[in-house]
């Protein structure tokens, strides 16, 4: 690992300033992605700005929305009773990320900023039509993701919170890679204030995407059978040592069907 300077500012303004002052400065949240990247020398930041003292943790539930602070850990989301009552699918998703040790440190803001094509939260954000709040603006989910490992966040822009509208029903079904625990394919289905939305992670070459054919079918008839026969073309899907694009295309159908069944 290359060496770097380390800062731990105590408010968002100072963190944004430190990150803005140096194009090679990088934010550090739970470190569950970024530290492995540093160990592999895939990144050479001059300064690391630790976000842990910015007061960005916590979960607020109102009648219409669940808002999760950007530095809230997967563990805390997975164990929030209030969030579970409002959006059980989202809380279950958080409990399936990685393992206990990863969940103790990894955060929602870090996961979304990273936009790993196999990450879990990206699918919930897209399917539930969440809003990403940053230090300078609010970004709708449909505009946030910009291809794998890329988002519309500017250099030094920090995710401060994520606001999820409460759906009528929703569920996440994941087929995990047994070694890495990431999603080989994950499908989040939701029926709520933003209509019926289906988001697929783990499969797309461009990262998380909405599945228009499944959304249309489920809008007409919310049932597992409605998606059972929808074929996903493998053309834009990932092939790797873990599975071919055709295999992933098939898994999308299976996961979607199970997700709708579990959502009820």
């Amino acid at each position: 690992m290359y060496d770097f300077a380390y800062q731990k500012p105590s408010n968002v303004a100072d963190a944004v300033k430190a990150l803005g002052a140096d194009p090679e400065a990088k934010a550090l949240a739970g470190g569950q992605t970024f530290i492995p990247v540093l160990k592999q020398r895939l990144n050479k930041p001059t300064v690391i700005v630790d976000l842990s003292k910015l007061g960005l943790t916590g979960i607020t539930v109102t009648a219409t929305a669940v808002t999760i602070g950007g530095m809230t850990t997967h563990w805390d989301v997975a164990h929030s009773e209030a969030a579970r009552k409002a959006i059980p699918g989202l809380v279950d998703l958080a409990g399936q990320i990685g393992d206990n040790q990863v969940r103790h440190r990894g955060t929602i803001g870090g996961s979304l900023a990273n936009n790993d094509p196999s990450a879990c939260y990206t699918s919930a954000v897209l399917a539930l039509g969440a809003t990403i709040k940053t230090d300078r603006r609010s970004i709708p989910a449909d505009e946030f993701f910009a291809g794998m490992f890329t988002t519309v966040l500017e250099q030094g822009e920090l995710i401060t919170a994520v606001e999820f509208p409460i759906p009528e029903k929703s569920h996440y079904m994941k087929f995990r890679n047994p070694a890495s625990r990431y999603a080989m394919v994950g499908v989040y289905v939701a029926k709520g204030p933003k209509g019926v939305r289906v988001a697929v992670t783990g499969a797309g070459q461009g990262g998380v995407f909405r599945h228009a054919a499944m959304e249309a079918a489920l809008s007409a008839n919310w049932s597992p059978d409605a998606v059972a026969n929808i074929k996903t073309p493998p053309d834009d899907l990932n092939s790797d040592i873990h599975g071919s694009a055709e295999y992933r295309a098939h898994l999308i159908g299976v996961m979607a069907k199970r997700a709708v069944a579990a959502a009820g």
Partner: protein, 165 residues
Amino acid sequence: MPQVSLTVNGKTSTVEVEGRTLLVELLREKLGLTGTHVGCDTSQCGACVVHVNGASVKACTMLALQAEGAQVITIEGLAAADGTLHPMQEMFREHHALQCGFCTPGMVMSAIDLVQTHPQGITEDEIRHGLEGNLCRCTGYHNIVKAIAAAWPIMHGKQVPLAAE
């Protein structure tokens, strides 16, 4: 060089580190606590698990500087001063839950956290899923699962520990 102050196994230390020093490097190389192992470069194996402020974390995936002010417990901090093993260590021994022993410190630290976070009881399924962050290439896990199930009632005061040999 930056400094970090933290409490490890009840003892407070202030240590000079680099920005890039990992918590596991601080423990092993600066404090000489080599019970915490490093088994991978990818944050997947769990050989390095320690408790930071009560939660199990991978010490290879945390900067030493992130542990400023933290309470850290490592495998060396479990046994009593007179050498009496922690019930989890005792059950690992009793149920032969290790072979080469490389994964064991991390397994024990994860297992203690798992039992502590299941005060109402724990199923075999919950134990197996709870060990997802810890890889063992020797045992096949069965005896580890048995040891954890046996440690649960002792740690929750529902059964007296076995008499020391």
